[in-house]
């Protein structure tokens, strides 16, 4: 299996099942998801909005509000300890310490009424034995680490005084405050300008290398995946439909949904060809089709696809796909 078996496993999610209570009864947002991330590895979790990728990522530190959500099955082992079995005290010493998060919109993820230096300082005080001047020195060090110019002045500013890119750097500095083993970046560049996106991505990559963290990157942008990830898992309607090393998946997708995602990326210089789209839309969680969840939108679906859901099958080492007809995907 190459890379992932040779290194220690940091995160191991097994058969995770998360339900949400809605007006029309319980709905499964995550249905039997299994993932693992090795030391210093980056796994990208890709899918459309509502496919369950964020819920999966937030479940690691139990950050999905309960209720309305409820974990109904599976386990999440972080360095060998099941976070789903933790009490609230154990969760507090996990959150921000072993697993830290960077969220989508830094402008609303930072508290608007506190200075950014104080917000980073809070993260330091919560998990490390630094007090007083040592905290301020550590805040400065972190701000320098994430490449914020004039950190002495910046740390005394409020979030609204910083640009989006600077705000996201502050979020990253805050996430690094207690040297986490796993960094979860939930669409970290989606809310930013394209030029800033590249800066933040290369910063994340650089920090991951230097600090030896594992990273779970949530995104719907396959361009981001190509730049950053080692492996990719593609989610659709609460399930993983394909998992593969990044080069292999981008070169030769094996699931029709992955194929569709790749085809719908606009490419420069290829003439005025009409952009291809995946017809139809994601099924409503309350009205899941009985068979393959992607069948209603699939161009190669056959009659049996609508009857029974195919299993996630390992077609070659390190490569899994949830489609029995993967050979006809090209």
């Amino acid at each position: 299996m190459g890379r992932e078996s040779s290194k220690q496993t940091i995160l191991e999610i097994r058969d995770l099942e998360v339900q949400f209570a809605t007006e029309d009864g319980a709905v499964r947002a995550v249905d039997g998801v299994s993932l693992s991330i090795g030391e210093a590895e980056t796994l990208a979790l890709v899918g459309e909005s509502g496919c369950g990728k964020s819920v999966t990522a937030l479940s690691i530190a139990r950050l999905v509000p309960e209720p309305p959500s409820r974990v109904t099955g599976g386990s999440i082992m972080l360095e060998g300890v099941n976070t789903l079995a933790m009490n609230s005290r154990e969760l507090r010493s996990l959150r921000g310490a072993k697993v830290a998060y960077v969220f989508q919109e830094p402008g609303s993820a930072l508290n608007p009424v506190f200075r950014v230096g104080d917000q980073i300082g809070e993260a330091i005080r919560l998990h490390r034995d630094l007090r007083g001047g040592a905290v301020a020195a550590e805040v400065l060090r972190l701000l320098k680490l994430v490449g914020i110019p004039a950190p002495e002045a910046r740390m005394r500013e409020y979030p609204h005084q910083l640009s989006g890119g600077m705000q996201q750097r502050v979020m990253i500095a805050m996430a690094l405050a207690s040297r986490p083993r796993l960094l979860v970046a939930d669409e970290p560049t989606t809310a930013l300008d394209v030029t800033i996106q590249a800066q933040i991505l290369s910063l994340l990559l650089d920090l991951k290398e230097r600090l030896g963290m594992a990273m779970l990157l949530i995104t719907h942008n396959l361009g981001v995946v190509a730049q950053v990830a080692d492996r990719v898992a593609v989610m659709y309607a609460g399930r993983i439909v394909e998992e593969a090393p990044v080069e292999a998946l981008l070169r030769l997708p094996r699931h029709p949904y992955t194929r569709g995602l790749l085809d719908s990326i606009p490419k420069l210089g290829l003439g005025a060809e009409r952009l291809s789209t995946i017809g139809g839309s994601v099924p409503h969680p309350g009205e899941m089709p009985p068979g393959c969840k992607f069948a209603p939108r699939c161009s190669i679906a056959r009659a049996e696809c609508h009857l029974a859901e195919p299993a996630l099958e390992e077609i070659e080492p390190g490569r899994k796909v949830r489609c029995p007809f993967w050979k006809s995907v090209s």
Binding site: A61, A100, F103
Partner: protein, 325 residues
């Protein structure tokens, strides 16, 4: 603009506003009302005694400005020998005249009434505020849970009971039937407990509902999730991250109610025999005691203007995103 400069500018704005209030008071109480001589002297007053009273109290002067005075005195000072300038001059020196009914200086009546009023309303305000904030935070934590639903139900129930209902039930059951509290007089803490209780409970429903809405709005915010993701305790998330943000809308509503504390509570004071400004005000209204009424309105307006400024300043202090200007 710095905070200090903003504060000074905001305070300077209160001068024209206060002047406007004074002019309005004059028009309402003095210009429209005319001379109160007949009211003061009684039905048996002769035309002579009324004219004499008017002359003594300045009601024979022109209303706004005095051209006669200008000619007589041959200086601008004479121009202001009229009812409005005299009225403004008196108010700005806190001279509210004497009560038509008790013949006491109005200023002294207000000073004497303000203590009972504040001893009634300030504890109600503080206890009610803290209780509402605490309950609302609890709701934000257990939103959509059983506790939250029960609180919402109780709040609506509390809001639906008229104020008089609380007073009657409190006085009859707690005061008379069970004998826990005295129901009349102002002789110490024991006489205030029941009105305090009624004041707090009657206001709780509306406040909790408003604060709960504000907090539920904030508890869904991304920065709350960030705070949890950092490893903050629930208590810290609520009392530090949530409350500081929720205080911005709450302050607007709360600070501006503070000036009304000074007038006391008309109903509570009347029903419990507390000699505060509410009681004095109601009495003055019944007897047409114009100096007392206009003084109460004037002081109330000043406090209102002042606390408006304080609200604005508190905003800026709480939320640095607000630009000064």
């Amino acid at each position: 603009m710095g905070f200090g400069a903003y504060a000074v500018r905001r305070l300077l704005y209160t001068i024209p506003v206060t002047l406007g209030v004074m002019v309005l008071l004059f028009l309402l109480f003095e210009a429209i009302g005319g001379s109160p001589a007949r009211l003061v002297l009684g039905k048996s007053a002769t035309a002579e005694s009324i004219a004499e009273w008017d002359a003594h109290n300045g009601y024979d002067l022109p209303l706004l400005i005095s051209w006669e005075g200008l000619l007589r005195e041959r200086s601008l000072v004479g121009l202001f020998d009229a009812q409005l300038p005299r009225y403004l001059w008196r108010l700005s020196r806190w001279d509210f005249g004497t009560s038509y009914v008790t013949n006491q200086p109005v200023r002294r009546m207000i000073f004497e009434g303000i203590i009972p009023s504040l001893s009634l309303t300030v504890p109600i305000f503080i206890a009610g505020f803290l209780a509402s904030i605490g309950i609302a935070l609890m709701c934000a934590l257990h939103r959509k849970g059983h506790l939250d639903r029960i609180v919402v139900f109780l709040s609506v129930a509390l809001m639906s009971i008229p104020y008089l209902g609380y007073i009657l039930v409190g006085q009859f059951w707690l005061g008379y039937a069970w004998g826990w509290f005295p129901i009349w007089g102002y002789e110490g803490i024991s006489h205030l407990v029941l009105p305090w209780l009624i004041g707090v409970v009657s206001g709780l429903g509306g406040n909790v509902r408003f604060y709960r809405t504000v907090m539920l709005d904030q508890v869904r915010a991304d920065f709350i999730r960030t705070a949890f993701a950092k490893g903050c305790t629930t208590r810290r998330v609520l009392w530090v991250h949530l409350l500081r943000n929720a205080m911005i809308p709450i302050l607007t509503q709360v600070v501006i109610t503070i000036p009304f504390l000074y007038t006391g509570s008309l109903l509570l004071e009347s029903f419990f025999g507390i000699p505060g400004l509410g009681y004095i005000g109601v009495h003055a209204l019944h007897t047409g005691d114009r100096p007392v009424l206009s003084a109460l309105v004037f002081v109330g307006s000043l406090l209102f203007v002042l606390f408006n400024v304080l609200t604005d300043l508190a905003y800026v202090w709480m939320d640095r995103r607000i630009r000064l200007g």
